[in-house]
């Protein structure tokens, strides 16, 4: 087949296109080539997930070990059920605890896993037993206010008692 300079240019053009897509996939989107067989899922149920979203990272000691792949409401017990897809190379003990944490003061929310002491590991599809919900700012403030008010009342009562004591 006859080759011309145009073919060369078009070849370069297509190569640039492939290189661009590869760059976007690897460097920009951080595609870590991982097959589905190399990951497993765990279930974690929370009373309140706050602002947790699908695709939020799952971290252990700050290292990303997986992603939240699904969130749904269990309509029998009315708790949020989050499905965590974890990298197959990480395993966690059966008494691992999961909590919803916030990166920074106003950052994104993620699931933190804390390894327990059990000898046996969680198997794919198992449920994480120990969970603690997300901190919801309103509830936090509410709690703070009541304890503050209680503290005030107590102080006032003490003062009154001190006055009447002598």
């Amino acid at each position: 087949m006859k080759r011309s300079i145009i073919d060369l240019w078009v070849g370069i053009f297509v190569a640039i296109g492939l290189a661009s897509v590869t760059f976007l996939a690897l460097k920009v989107a951080n595609l870590t080539p991982q097959s589905d067989s190399n990951s497993y899922t765990l279930i974690a149920e929370f009373d309140n997930i706050g602002g947790l979203k699908v695709k939020a990272p799952v971290k252990s000691s700050g290292v990303v070990v997986g992603r939240v792949s699904n969130i749904e409401l269990d309509t029998k017990r009315y708790v949020a059920r989050a499905t965590l897809t974890l990298n197959g190379q990480y395993h966690f003990s059966r008494d691992t605890s999961a909590e919803i944490l916030t990166a920074g003061l106003l950052g994104e929310q993620y699931v933190g896993l804390v390894q327990g002491g059990d000898e046996e590991n969680l198997k794919p599809g198992d449920r994480v037993q120990l969970t603690s919900s997300a901190l919801v700012l309103e509830q936090l403030i509410g709690k703070f206010m009541t304890s503050f008010a209680e503290g005030n009342n107590k102080a006032a009562a003490d003062a009154a008692r001190a006055e009447t004591a002598p």
């Binding site: 145009i6 073919d7 240019w9 078009v10 370069i12 053009f13 297509v14 640039i16 296109g17 661009s20 897509v21 760059f23 976007l24 996939a25 460097k27 920009v28 989107a29 951080n30 595609l31 695709k55 990272p57």
Partner: protein, 262 residues
Amino acid sequence: MMLDTLFAPLRKLGHSTINAIWKLGVMSRFLLSILTHSGQSLLRFQLTIREVYFAGVLSLIIIVVSGLFVGMVLGLQGYNTLSRFGSADALGALVALSLLRELGPVLAALLFASRSGSAMTAEIGLMKATEQLEAMSVMAVDPVARVVAPRFWAGVISMPILAALFNVMGIFGGYLVGVVMIGLDEGTFWSQMQNNVDLHFDVVNGLIKSLFFGIAVTLIAVFEGFDATPTAAGVSSATTRTVVTSALVILALDFVLTAFMF
């Protein structure tokens, strides 16, 4: 008479609406005929490669330069706004997401329409005006198969490649401003980007968008050329129509696709 002048603009509007719908029908038929006549342009791929050179390779410079500048502007503006909220770290994510999802495909398509689309229209229109298309058909060679289809496929192939290149250049421009000029941390820039960009959701969807834009722009370009009045004035107004219609269709189509995808 009074009513006549009053209703004249209304009638004109109705007229152009009917015309637009008519044109849509004719264009759909044209697309069908391109698809059924594509055998040759795929079997004799040399024909298509030649057109990829004219439509794609010759657009490289404008895509590279515009992409770079758009990315640099995004970097500057993004930094100014983000630093007000103390989140200048998110600059990488901002630049990458705005490019991948919207600016890359849309701007690359607009540039492609005005650089290659208008050239295609003018070329086919002139071939028509100088009886070259007629000569071809008298030589028992179908002009749709020989002239239109290779250009159409060349456009469809080139557009996503150009959009991907535009994205890369834009991100590089953002990197130049954010990291090299302003001095943000390089690691943070990339990791913020990688944490927020999803391969399927952002990268692939953006490229699918540009594929649609490629089909739309090239179809408009070859149709306007093929449909042009075979005179100098006819070809020039067809070229203008290509650029204007393409721009409108790209933006409208972008809205529809975005609504579907994101």
